[in-house]
Symmetry: C2
Subunit: 126 residues, 2 copies
Protein backbone atom coordinates (compact mmCIF):
# COMPACT_ATOMS: atom_id res chain seq x y z
CA UNK A 1 0.00 0.00 0.00
CA UNK A 2 1.19 3.50 -0.81
CA UNK A 3 2.08 5.83 2.04
CA UNK A 4 2.52 9.03 0.05
CA UNK A 5 4.77 11.01 -2.25
CA UNK A 6 8.35 10.62 -1.11
CA UNK A 7 9.96 13.11 -3.48
CA UNK A 8 9.81 14.73 -6.91
CA UNK A 9 12.88 14.19 -9.08
CA UNK A 10 14.13 17.05 -11.25
CA UNK A 11 16.60 16.70 -14.11
CA UNK A 12 18.91 19.71 -13.89
CA UNK A 13 22.06 20.98 -15.55
CA UNK A 14 23.61 21.85 -12.21
CA UNK A 15 22.63 20.59 -8.76
CA UNK A 16 24.32 23.59 -7.14
CA UNK A 17 22.46 26.10 -9.26
CA UNK A 18 19.01 24.60 -8.67
CA UNK A 19 19.70 24.03 -4.97
CA UNK A 20 20.55 27.75 -4.67
CA UNK A 21 17.45 28.70 -6.63
CA UNK A 22 15.20 26.63 -4.35
CA UNK A 23 16.93 28.04 -1.29
CA UNK A 24 16.41 31.63 -2.42
CA UNK A 25 12.76 31.17 -3.31
CA UNK A 26 11.55 28.53 -0.84
CA UNK A 27 14.24 28.49 1.86
CA UNK A 28 15.05 24.94 0.77
CA UNK A 29 17.86 23.08 2.54
CA UNK A 30 20.20 20.45 1.16
CA UNK A 31 19.97 17.17 3.04
CA UNK A 32 22.88 14.81 3.67
CA UNK A 33 21.63 12.40 1.02
CA UNK A 34 23.64 12.22 -2.17
CA UNK A 35 24.26 9.61 -4.80
CA UNK A 36 26.98 9.38 -7.43
CA UNK A 37 26.51 6.90 -10.27
CA UNK A 38 28.06 6.61 -13.74
CA UNK A 39 24.93 8.27 -15.19
CA UNK A 40 24.03 10.95 -12.66
CA UNK A 41 24.90 12.73 -9.47
CA UNK A 42 21.99 13.53 -7.20
CA UNK A 43 21.27 15.44 -4.04
CA UNK A 44 18.06 15.67 -2.06
CA UNK A 45 16.74 19.09 -1.12
CA UNK A 46 14.08 19.71 1.51
CA UNK A 47 11.36 22.27 0.80
CA UNK A 48 9.32 22.51 3.97
CA UNK A 49 8.25 18.91 4.59
CA UNK A 50 8.67 18.05 0.92
CA UNK A 51 11.68 16.61 -0.91
CA UNK A 52 13.11 17.24 -4.36
CA UNK A 53 15.85 15.07 -5.80
CA UNK A 54 18.11 17.07 -8.11
CA UNK A 55 19.70 14.90 -10.79
CA UNK A 56 22.71 16.20 -12.70
CA UNK A 57 24.13 14.28 -15.65
CA UNK A 58 27.30 12.19 -15.49
CA UNK A 59 29.06 10.19 -18.18
CA UNK A 60 28.56 10.11 -21.91
CA UNK A 61 24.95 9.96 -23.00
CA UNK A 62 23.75 8.78 -19.59
CA UNK A 63 20.06 8.71 -18.70
CA UNK A 64 19.87 12.24 -17.31
CA UNK A 65 21.89 13.69 -20.17
CA UNK A 66 19.51 12.00 -22.62
CA UNK A 67 16.52 13.37 -20.74
CA UNK A 68 17.97 16.89 -20.78
CA UNK A 69 18.73 16.66 -24.49
CA UNK A 70 15.19 15.54 -25.26
CA UNK A 71 13.27 17.74 -22.83
CA UNK A 72 15.54 20.31 -21.23
CA UNK A 73 15.46 20.77 -17.46
CA UNK A 74 12.24 19.74 -15.76
CA UNK A 75 10.40 17.16 -13.72
CA UNK A 76 11.92 13.72 -14.27
CA UNK A 77 10.02 11.39 -11.94
CA UNK A 78 7.82 11.14 -8.89
CA UNK A 79 8.66 8.76 -6.07
CA UNK A 80 5.99 6.99 -4.11
CA UNK A 81 6.67 5.61 -0.67
CA UNK A 82 5.26 2.10 -0.32
CA UNK A 83 5.30 -0.47 2.44
CA UNK A 84 5.70 -3.70 0.48
CA UNK A 85 7.91 -3.67 -2.61
CA UNK A 86 7.48 -7.38 -3.43
CA UNK A 87 3.71 -7.07 -3.44
CA UNK A 88 3.85 -3.88 -5.52
CA UNK A 89 6.09 -5.51 -8.14
CA UNK A 90 3.77 -8.51 -8.23
CA UNK A 91 0.71 -6.28 -8.82
CA UNK A 92 2.52 -4.38 -11.59
CA UNK A 93 3.79 -7.51 -13.31
CA UNK A 94 0.40 -9.21 -13.17
CA UNK A 95 -0.96 -6.23 -15.08
CA UNK A 96 1.83 -6.54 -17.65
CA UNK A 97 3.39 -3.24 -16.60
CA UNK A 98 7.05 -2.61 -17.27
CA UNK A 99 9.09 -2.34 -14.06
CA UNK A 100 12.76 -1.39 -14.36
CA UNK A 101 15.24 -2.81 -11.86
CA UNK A 102 12.53 -3.45 -9.23
CA UNK A 103 12.48 0.32 -8.74
CA UNK A 104 10.83 2.28 -11.54
CA UNK A 105 7.50 1.85 -13.31
CA UNK A 106 8.12 2.78 -16.94
CA UNK A 107 6.19 5.86 -18.13
CA UNK A 108 4.64 3.76 -20.91
CA UNK A 109 2.96 1.68 -18.21
CA UNK A 110 1.91 4.65 -16.09
CA UNK A 111 0.27 7.30 -18.27
CA UNK A 112 3.53 9.01 -19.11
CA UNK A 113 4.79 9.26 -15.54
CA UNK A 114 8.07 7.70 -14.46
CA UNK A 115 7.22 6.39 -10.98
CA UNK A 116 9.94 5.40 -8.54
CA UNK A 117 8.94 2.93 -5.85
CA UNK A 118 10.61 3.71 -2.52
CA UNK A 119 10.09 0.98 0.10
CA UNK A 120 9.59 2.46 3.58
CA UNK A 121 12.01 -0.02 5.18
CA UNK A 122 14.81 1.38 3.00
CA UNK A 123 14.45 4.75 4.71
CA UNK A 124 14.40 3.18 8.15
CA UNK A 125 17.70 1.46 7.37
CA UNK A 126 19.22 4.82 6.42
Amino acid sequence: MAKGIHHVGLAVNSVDEVASFLEEIFEAKLTDYQMETPEFFSRMVQVGQGLFELLEPRGENGLIERFLKANGEGIHHVSILIDDLDKMIEICEKKGMRVLGRRFIHPKSAHGVLIELVPANELQRG
Copy 2:
Protein backbone atom coordinates in the same frame (compact mmCIF):
# COMPACT_ATOMS: atom_id res chain seq x y z
CA MET B 1 8.12 30.16 3.62
CA ALA B 2 7.39 26.83 1.97
CA LYS B 3 5.63 24.16 3.98
CA GLY B 4 5.97 21.27 1.54
CA ILE B 5 4.74 19.67 -1.65
CA HIS B 6 0.97 19.99 -1.79
CA HIS B 7 0.36 17.89 -4.89
CA VAL B 8 1.74 16.76 -8.23
CA GLY B 9 -0.40 17.66 -11.25
CA LEU B 10 -0.72 15.15 -14.09
CA ALA B 11 -2.04 15.94 -17.56
CA VAL B 12 -4.22 13.00 -18.57
CA ASN B 13 -6.54 12.03 -21.39
CA SER B 14 -9.14 10.74 -18.96
CA VAL B 15 -9.46 11.50 -15.25
CA ASP B 16 -11.55 8.36 -14.74
CA GLU B 17 -9.01 6.11 -16.41
CA VAL B 18 -6.01 7.42 -14.45
CA ALA B 19 -7.96 7.51 -11.17
CA SER B 20 -8.78 3.81 -11.71
CA PHE B 21 -5.15 3.05 -12.57
CA LEU B 22 -3.90 4.75 -9.39
CA GLU B 23 -6.57 2.97 -7.35
CA GLU B 24 -5.60 -0.45 -8.71
CA ILE B 25 -1.87 0.05 -8.19
CA PHE B 26 -1.67 2.29 -5.12
CA GLU B 27 -5.13 2.04 -3.54
CA ALA B 28 -5.60 5.72 -4.36
CA LYS B 29 -8.89 7.39 -3.45
CA LEU B 30 -10.68 10.24 -5.19
CA THR B 31 -11.19 13.23 -2.91
CA ASP B 32 -14.21 15.55 -3.03
CA TYR B 33 -12.16 18.28 -4.73
CA GLN B 34 -12.94 18.92 -8.36
CA MET B 35 -12.67 21.89 -10.66
CA GLU B 36 -14.29 22.53 -14.02
CA THR B 37 -12.91 25.37 -16.17
CA PRO B 38 -13.16 26.16 -19.89
CA GLU B 39 -9.68 24.63 -20.35
CA PHE B 40 -9.64 21.61 -18.05
CA PHE B 41 -11.55 19.44 -15.65
CA SER B 42 -9.59 18.28 -12.62
CA ARG B 43 -9.98 15.95 -9.70
CA MET B 44 -7.67 15.37 -6.77
CA VAL B 45 -6.67 11.81 -5.89
CA GLN B 46 -5.09 10.79 -2.62
CA VAL B 47 -2.22 8.26 -2.67
CA GLY B 48 -1.43 7.54 0.97
CA GLN B 49 -0.73 11.00 2.40
CA GLY B 50 0.14 12.39 -1.04
CA LEU B 51 -2.08 14.11 -3.58
CA PHE B 52 -2.19 13.99 -7.37
CA GLU B 53 -4.30 16.41 -9.37
CA LEU B 54 -5.55 14.78 -12.58
CA LEU B 55 -6.15 17.35 -15.33
CA GLU B 56 -8.27 16.39 -18.32
CA PRO B 57 -8.61 18.73 -21.29
CA ARG B 58 -11.70 20.84 -21.98
CA GLY B 59 -12.45 23.23 -24.82
CA GLU B 60 -10.65 23.80 -28.11
CA ASN B 61 -6.90 24.01 -27.81
CA GLY B 62 -7.00 24.71 -24.08
CA LEU B 63 -3.87 24.56 -21.95
CA ILE B 64 -4.09 20.87 -21.06
CA GLU B 65 -4.94 19.88 -24.63
CA ARG B 66 -1.91 21.83 -25.85
CA PHE B 67 0.28 20.14 -23.23
CA LEU B 68 -0.99 16.69 -24.26
CA LYS B 69 -0.39 17.44 -27.94
CA ALA B 70 3.16 18.57 -27.24
CA ASN B 71 4.15 16.00 -24.61
CA GLY B 72 1.53 13.31 -24.27
CA GLU B 73 0.30 12.33 -20.82
CA GLY B 74 2.69 13.04 -17.97
CA ILE B 75 3.63 15.28 -15.08
CA HIS B 76 2.32 18.80 -15.65
CA HIS B 77 3.23 20.75 -12.51
CA VAL B 78 4.20 20.52 -8.88
CA SER B 79 2.36 22.52 -6.23
CA ILE B 80 4.14 23.93 -3.23
CA LEU B 81 2.26 24.85 -0.10
CA ILE B 82 3.37 28.24 1.21
CA ASP B 83 2.29 30.41 4.10
CA ASP B 84 2.55 33.90 2.58
CA LEU B 85 1.55 34.33 -1.06
CA ASP B 86 2.15 38.11 -1.18
CA LYS B 87 5.69 37.70 0.10
CA MET B 88 6.38 34.84 -2.31
CA ILE B 89 5.14 36.86 -5.30
CA GLU B 90 7.28 39.79 -4.17
CA ILE B 91 10.41 37.59 -3.94
CA CYS B 92 9.74 36.13 -7.39
CA GLU B 93 9.07 39.49 -9.02
CA LYS B 94 12.16 41.08 -7.48
CA LYS B 95 14.16 38.33 -9.16
CA GLY B 96 12.46 39.07 -12.49
CA MET B 97 10.71 35.71 -12.50
CA ARG B 98 7.54 35.27 -14.49
CA VAL B 99 4.51 34.61 -12.28
CA LEU B 100 1.20 33.78 -13.97
CA GLY B 101 -2.03 34.93 -12.32
CA ARG B 102 -0.44 35.14 -8.86
CA ARG B 103 -0.48 31.35 -8.89
CA PHE B 104 2.10 29.74 -11.17
CA ILE B 105 5.82 30.31 -11.59
CA HIS B 106 6.54 29.90 -15.31
CA PRO B 107 8.85 26.98 -16.13
CA LYS B 108 11.21 29.39 -17.90
CA SER B 109 11.79 31.04 -14.51
CA ALA B 110 12.11 27.78 -12.59
CA HIS B 111 14.48 25.41 -14.39
CA GLY B 112 11.76 23.91 -16.55
CA VAL B 113 9.33 23.21 -13.72
CA LEU B 114 5.84 24.70 -13.66
CA ILE B 115 5.39 25.49 -9.96
CA GLU B 116 1.96 26.21 -8.51
CA LEU B 117 1.90 28.25 -5.33
CA VAL B 118 -0.82 27.09 -2.93
CA PRO B 119 -1.32 29.41 0.04
CA ALA B 120 -2.05 27.47 3.23
CA ASN B 121 -4.93 29.77 4.20
CA GLU B 122 -6.75 28.76 1.02
CA LEU B 123 -6.94 25.18 2.28
CA GLN B 124 -8.14 26.27 5.71
CA ARG B 125 -11.01 28.16 4.04
CA GLY B 126 -12.04 25.04 2.09
